[in-house]
């Protein structure tokens, strides 16, 4: 089967319920905004292929339900994701405080080298803001994670957030490939050795090397 892309990246959106994960994804995949969304039930996903430094990168983005009930289900997807967006709502203090819990969740369930990014969404609602941009930045520095404020409604920074995360994954992956495959060997076995933390290393790394 002919592939229409060079890389496939799996990304995950997590955060408290109602922070706008689905809206962010809808903005990125359809370039639209809808004030009333159906609550995400369990898990959902969207796909968009972007062009990154001349390579076609297919992003498979998983959108998770915020309801506590689905936590056991959604953490099962952490392991397979290469990048995680942690989303909070700048008008909801609690959702910001919970970012720390979400990070702990990632540390317990995702592979150690997963790329992360923190998004402070709904930054268009300046009058209702409870979390300043500085506090977001501070938290990001503390955990050494990139941070950006977004507005799915006004289409602010959503595009650049996904591009940044994808670019970071790509850079990390190419670096790793170089290190493990200096002679450009095509054998999957070498890559498994270099990426033991990845549970299913052959599923995406071998694909990348075949291109």
């Amino acid at each position: 089967m002919a592939k229409t892309y060079d890389y496939l990246f799996k990304l995950l959106l997590i955060g408290d319920s109602g922070v706008g994960k689905t809206s962010i994804l809808f903005r990125f995949s359809e370039d639209a905004f809808n004030i009333s969304f159906i609550s995400t039930i369990g898990i959902d996903f969207k796909i968009r292929t972007i062009d990154l430094d001349g390579k076609k990168v297919k992003l498979q983005i998983w959108d998770t339900a915020g309801q506590e009930r689905f936590r056991t289900i959604t953490t099962a997807y952490y392991r397979g994701s290469m990048g995680i967006m942690l989303v909070y709502d700048v008008t909801n203090e609690k959702s910001f405080e919970n970012i720390k819990n979400w990070i702990r969740n990632i540390e317990e369930n995702a592979s150690a080298d997963v790329e992360k990014m923190i998004l402070g969404n709904k930054c268009d609602l300046e009058a209702k803001r409870q979390v300043s941009k500085e506090r977001g930045e501070q938290l990001a520095v503390e955990y050494q994670i990139k941070f950006i404020e977004t507005s799915a409604k006004d289409s602010l920074n959503v595009e650049s957030a996904f591009y940044t995360l994808a670019r970071d994954i790509k850079a990390k992956m190419e670096k790793k490939q170089e290190a493990s495959n200096p002679a450009g060997a095509r054998s999957g076995a070498h890559q498994i050795r270099a990426n033991e933390q990845q549970r299913k290393p052959t599923s995406w790394l071998s694909r990348c090397s075949l291109l």
């Binding site: 319920s17 969304f37 039930i41």
Partner: protein, 360 residues
């Protein structure tokens, strides 16, 4: 505000307890409203008392008490007061779902689907006769799985008879008759606002079917009913509490049947039809079914298996909510209804029979 309160509460509350509390909520919801919207709503309500939907027209497939009278009134006089009557840019289908006018293909397919609601007299009579024969209303009635019934279910249940037929086939009538506590009592016991589950439910009520006029707004006709059913279920099954998928099923049922019937079908679904722990806090039943489905696909549908592997797609990303909502948010409403007959009446029927034998 008082006027609005009296107008809304007179219709969307059918005599269950917690009325004052409910009115308080409505007035709070109204207070947040755009005043213009509210005036529109009041004007709409003043115009007429009970408007009936035209056959095959918007709202015509809804159970009559769900029909949004305010919007019916606006539809009845589109030219009112010179500014378009405040009608939105979209129209509503038989179940009250918003259909955007620009959705060309959707409209034409709707026309095909609309046939589902044009009932054939012969067909209806056949079912009416049959329902008398086996005495549907009798709660003790044993579900006899005959070839005749099987064929009739496969041929479809007339829309207007669906509530009765489903109630009987899935065993909800029996459950209601054999349960000591009444729905009324359960509603009274579960009307506590302070519970964590109540708060979760409140957050979700207008996010379950936001594109349906019966559930799009805190004052919509279906919202108080849905609130009572979800709270009642959470109270009745404390191990389950509130799980988001159930809201979708309950809301879909409420579109075509009365609140209490919908509640008993929900009870039967959760307790008898679905495998154990489907909606429990671990969701272990749902997760197990995903694995089973995946292995069935590998065995019986090699084509799909190949595509899933080639694109590295985790199947449960697509299918989990099919199971959580029993397809209520997956296929078109009209098909769901037929699927509902099959799911409730047939596929689960044998399981239920089987369980019945085990119990005896």
């Amino acid at each position: 505000m008082d006027l609005a309160k009296s107008l809304f509460s007179s219709r969307d509350h059918v005599g269950y307890v917690g009325r004052e509390d409910h009115e308080r909520k409505i007035s709070a919801a109204l207070a947040d409203d755009d005043p213009e919207d509210m005036i529109d709503a009041i004007r709409g309500l003043n115009i007429a008392d009970e408007l009936l939907p035209a056959p095959g027209g918007p709202f015509s497939a809804l159970t009559p008490s769900m029909v949004p009278q305010d919007i019916m009134a606006k539809l009845a006089q589109p030219e009112s007061e010179g500014h378009g009557g405040g009608l939105p840019d979209y129209r509503f289908d038989e179940f009250g779902f918003c259909v955007e006018e620009e959705d060309g293909p959707e409209q034409s397919s709707n026309k095909l689907l609309a046939d589902a609601f044009v009932e054939d007299d012969q067909h209806r009579l056949q079912w009416e006769f049959y329902s008398k024969e086996i005495n549907f209303s009798d709660g003790e009635g044993k579900l006899e799985k005959t070839d005749k019934l099987q064929k009739m279910v496969k041929d479809g249940v007339p829309h207007s008879l669906r509530p009765q037929v489903w109630m009987h086939l899935c065993g909800a009538n029996k459950k209601r008759a054999s349960t000591e506590i009444t729905y009324h009592e359960i509603v009274r016991a579960s009307s506590d606002d302070g519970l964590v589950t109540s708060k979760q439910i409140e957050k979700d009520l207008v996010q379950i079917l936001p594109n349906n006029v019966c559930f799009s707004h805190p004052t919509s006709t279906g919202v108080p009913r849905l609130r009572r059913i979800l709270r009642a279920l959470a109270w009745l099954y404390p191990d389950i509490g509130y799980c988001q998928g159930t809201g979708m099923i309950a809301a879909s049922l409420l579109l075509l049947m009365e609140e209490e019937d919908a509640f008993w079908i929900m009870c039967t679904t959760v307790e008898d039809l679905l495998p154990a722990s489907y909606y429990s806090s671990t969701l272990i039943g749902i997760q197990a079914d995903q694995k089973v489905l995946r292995s069935l696909i590998s065995t019986y549908l090699p084509g799909i298996d190949q595509v899933l592997n080639a694109h590295d797609i985790e199947l449960s990303l697509i299918t989990m909510h099919w199971f959580l909502t029993l397809y209520a948010n997956v296929v078109h409403e009209n098909f769901t209804k037929d699927l509902g007959s099959l799911l409730l009446g047939w596929f689960f029927g044998p399981i239920q029979d089987h369980l019945g034998h085990v119990e005896n």
